[in-house]
Symmetry: C2
Subunit: 147 residues, 2 copies
Amino acid sequence: MPDILHRVGIKSSPNAVYEALSSIEGLAGWWTRTTRGDGSVGGVIQFRFEPRGFFDMKVLELEPPRHVLWEVVDGPAEWIGTRVGFDLREEDDHTIVLFRHQGWKEPVEFMHHCSTKWAVFLLSLKSYVESGTGTPYPDDVKIDNWN
Amino acid sequence: MPDILHRVGIKSSPNAVYEALSSIEGLAGWWTRTTRGDGSVGGVIQFRFEPRGFFDMKVLELEPPRHVLWEVVDGPAEWIGTRVGFDLREEDDHTIVLFRHQGWKEPVEFMHHCSTKWAVFLLSLKSYVESGTGTPYPDDVKIDNWN
């Protein structure tokens, strides 16, 4: 099954990056301003991109400050059951983030869009952690006619 | 085998996007300023990113203004023999670019980096065609400790 893979390096500590990936406030700083829910293991985080759509993520695994894994429990049909993971480690004064969105059934056109869009949001994460200012939805970089 | 997939939408004509993907001057406007070689079918285009590295691409297919396909004939070991393709079509006042970098043997960490970096360069392509100004290497957006 095809996966979306990305790598960014953030000039900050693993703890700071982990906080941005695991707390509701942190997630709202780089992915979508309308983020709420329960970020603990077994909880569900609601990410809202009104009026375009939404994702509900169940938190499967948290290992501070190294690992975050979610499962998509509601949202676009192509996303349901897929898993989104972040693995962190230190290298050359950066925290390296290896990102994987796994479990897509087919490499549909929407997957191409989501791959580019994840890159945009991971660079928003980098900016948020390094400078305090990200570009979460609705202030995100638009990439195509699907936004 | 895992692939890198992306989708961008460019507010311009397929002809303008195709020109940026098939001419030496166009390619130098968004990927790397040091681009030279023979862009016709069967020719080899040299993309230079000194001092970091290089790619040599053999042009396999050109179908103006809809399709470009290259094969990597020299460069990093993980890239050799892989294929990079662009498919264009019009939709909603955009030219949609579907990008695929296919034939990776393994989803190595370098592939994660290249996936994010391709997104950055495809957004440079979008900017170059829409405004006349891209951010080709060495002026590209840096994403991690590998640049």
